[in-house]
Structures are given as C-alpha cells and as structure tokens.
Symmetry: C2
C-alpha cells in the first residue's frame, strides 16, 4: 500500500461517487493521480482539493465543460465568474418559483389560463344550470380561442355575455346541448338552427369579424379549430353547427371559411 487515498475514499471525501470521479478524470477536470503497484489510483491532497472545487461548482449547476477553464484562470477572473454563476442560479430559482406558482394556480382553478372576465362567464354558465360537461367544453373552447385567435377573443367574450343575458338564447343553447342525443336527421335540428340563426342575426354587429384578422394567412384554420372544437362529441351537434353557419352566411355574414 502506497501513500494517498484510494478512489473510494477520495470520492467519499468529496461527497461524490467513484463513477463521478472517474468521469471527471475522463473530462480532464481532475488530473489522473499516480497509480500504486497494483494499478489503483492514489489521491494526494492537491487532487482532493481539486475534486472538492470541481464538485462545488458542479453542484451549483456550472456545466462541467466550463469548470476546467474556470478553475485554471486567475483568481480575479474566477471571482467574476463565480458571481456570474450566482446570478444564473438566482435566475433559475426565480424561474422555478414562477413555475411553481403557475402550478399552484392550475391546481386551484382556471385563473392561470383565462382572464377574470372569461372565468366569470364560465361561473355564470354553471349558475344557469348548464351541465359540468358543457361548462368544461366551453372552458376548453375559451382557452383555445384565447391562444389561437386573440384578436377576436374579447369580441367573442362580449358575444357570450350578451347571449347569457338573454333567457331566450339560454334556453335555445340548452336545447342545442340536448341535441347531442338526437338523431342527426331529426327535423328538430333544422328548426333549432333557424331559431338560433334568427337570434344571432338580431345583433349583427356582434358577429362582425375584424378585417385585420380575416386577412391573416392561417386565420381560417385557427378559426376552424376553435369553432369545431368538441364537434366529435356527436354528429347532431356538428350538423347543427353547419346549418347555423350556412344560414348566417346566407344572410350575408362573412366569416372565415375552412
């Protein structure tokens, strides 16, 4: 047995695993120490110090690729670099904190994804007796609308608020939701579509789509995604939507075509 610690002792000293020490050797961060007669690495004090330095920086999140240069420059550059590392660490901490808070809001409601005004609309839906499933669908629609077509999101909300204030419209909408279970060829669907279109056309101004939006290249596909959200829930709903859309278009309303 020659002088110096074995790799296991050195690793324990620095608080890392043997594998990590060998990894540092391969990267050239810590020079390979002398070997004893049986080929074992034998660590002297300078090796241990270097190991602890590397390990401290690595623990603070400095990429291993940078640590070598860092430790081999003059002390004042090193001090500056340390400050830099500290700043990056602070940034990372703030970032994580923000994510954690987002997660917190996510666990306690929609406030993370939607503005207060939209949340109010959703609560109003629930109060009006719409089923949780319907409210969930509307929530998804709002999230999508906000992200995909922000230019008309406010107008969209205004439409919704307006309609919810009209008991006749609320009744028609509920009936539309019930239509899920109807046969797609049920004549009541045609009838309902007419009633809905009439109601909508009573407030033509609310239906206008801003010109700035209509001209965007992918406007149609984005609008389509929002508009046909959850249509897969049933063919009757899809038919109802198609009929209303056709009636509005026939009345001269020009909205994105898919």
């Amino acid at each position: 047995m020659a002088g110096g610690l074995t790799i296991g002792q050195a690793a324990a000293f620095a608080g890392v695993t043997i594998k990590t020490v060998r990894h540092y050797h391969r990267l050239g961060l810590v020079a390979e120490p002398e070997r004893d007669t049986s080929g074992y690495r034998r660590y002297r004090s300078t090796d241990l110090l270097r190991l602890v330095q590397v390990r401290t920086l690595a623990g603070a999140g400095v990429p291993l690729a940078e640590i070598g240069d860092l430790l081999d420059t003059d002390p004042e550059t090193f001090a500056g670099a340390l400050d830099d590392v500290r700043r990056r660490l602070t940034e990372r901490i703030e970032d994580l904190t923000a994510r954690r808070d987002t997660l917190h809001r996510l666990a306690h409601g929609d406030r993370a994804l939607l503005p207060d005004r939209a949340c109010a609309v959703l609560e109003r839906l629930a109060d009006l007796g719409f089923s949780p499933d319907y409210v969930a669908g509307q929530r998804e629609g709002l999230v999508l609308a906000r992200a995909l077509i922000p230019e008309i999101f406010d107008g969209f909300l205004t439409q919704l608020e307006h309609r919810l204030a009209d008991p006749g419209f609320v009744a028609l909408t509920k009936r539309g939701w019930d239509a899920r279970s109807w046969d797609p060829d049920d004549p009541r669907i045609e009838e309902l579509a007419s009633a809905l279109a009439d109601k909508l056309l009573a407030d033509r101004a609310l239906l206008a789509v801003p010109t700035g939006f209509r001209n965007r290249a992918d406007a149609a596909s984005r609008y389509g995604v929002v508009n046909h959200h959850r249509e897969d829930q049933g063919p009757s709903i899809a038919r109802l939507n198609t009929l209303v859309e056709a009636k509005l278009r026939a009345a001269g309303i020009d909205f994105p075509h898919r």
Copy 2:
C-alpha cells in the same frame, strides 16, 4: 389542406419545438393526430389542450415518464399529484438557494470551508509576514485536516496557535519555508530539523494523538495525506519533514505511520 393545425403551428401554440412534439408522440404522452392526404399531422383542439397540459407539467420539472399516468387519472388524484410536484419544486428551490449561498461565501473568503478559529490562525500567519504562498498551502492543509481527520483537528489548531505565540518557533518555521530553495543535501536541513524537533518535544503533551483516532483502520493514510500535503513543492521540504518525523519517533512519540 384539411382542417386542423400543422405540427409547426401546434408547436408554436404550445410554446415548444416541433421536435419536442414528435418526442411526446413517441413517448405516447400525446396521441398521434390524424394525418391529411399528404401525410402531415393535423392537430385538433383536444390535441392542443393535451399538448399544453403536458408542456405545463414538463416545464415544472415533472419527468415525462410520469406525466402520462398523471394526466390519465381522476381529477382528485391529479390535484394531489400536483401538490406533490409543487412540494418537490419548493425543495429544489431551497436546495439551489443553499448552493448559491455557499458559492457566495466561497467567493468571499474561507469562511465556508473553515471555522473562525482556523481563519484567525491564517490571518495571524499573514500578519507575521509569511508569504501568501505559504499561507495558501497552510489553508489547504487545514481544509484537508478538517475533512480527513476531524477527530484531531482541534488539537491540530491548538498546536498551531501555541507555536505562533513563540517567536523562536516562528523564525524556525520561516527558515523551513526558505529551505525550499536549498539543495536537498544541504547540511543546514539536518540542523534545522534538530532545532524543530527540540522545540516540538518541549511541549510533548501537544503532540499526543488521541487513542480513538490511532485505532481507526484508514487513520494512517488519512494522516499521511494531510501531513505530506504539498511536499511535492520541493525535495528539501520533504527531507526536512522526514528528518523531523524520525527524530520525534526516536524520542518516543507514536503517531500514525504510513
């Protein structure tokens, strides 16, 4: 062109890269959407929602492997899991903060690595006119001693404090430091070793090594590492150490043998 967003649009919507979306598909986190006639993926609203959910959790540091199960369980389990994620995030933040503080202390002195008493000894060395190189070597020695042989670290400090209070010893130590530049066969080394050994033997009690320590299996190698630290700085220093050691042993002092 059929309905739905292309992968590029979907990725932009979720704030990730195209590659990331495909990665999620391969892991089964987000189901593959329908393809259009040319084989392009077409994303509908439900795909987009799923994508945002995955991306939110992944952004919070949840391993991708867990996200699938997480999103496919009932809402209350999900809420519990979210809380768990939040807790882990908090832990991680605290950990990083602690590391950052360590780094801060590291940039501003030795207080991170050594107790106040040791720092005082180092300052005293500097005040007594020892060269910065010598002080640096002693600092390293103390760091090693504290980590490798904590059982005798306090005794070690006491010895140092005692010696520094003796001007004769200080003078001999400085001379020993000068010996670096001497030839290893210089007769002055022999002479200096005798003087040092005499001084040391005048306070035999200080030299005793606790029995509890001597009996530890790897005591010798640890002690050796500390004792021969920086000996590679010059063969004359090594010779001086060896001579002093031999003289002390000859006088009946029994310290760990390497």
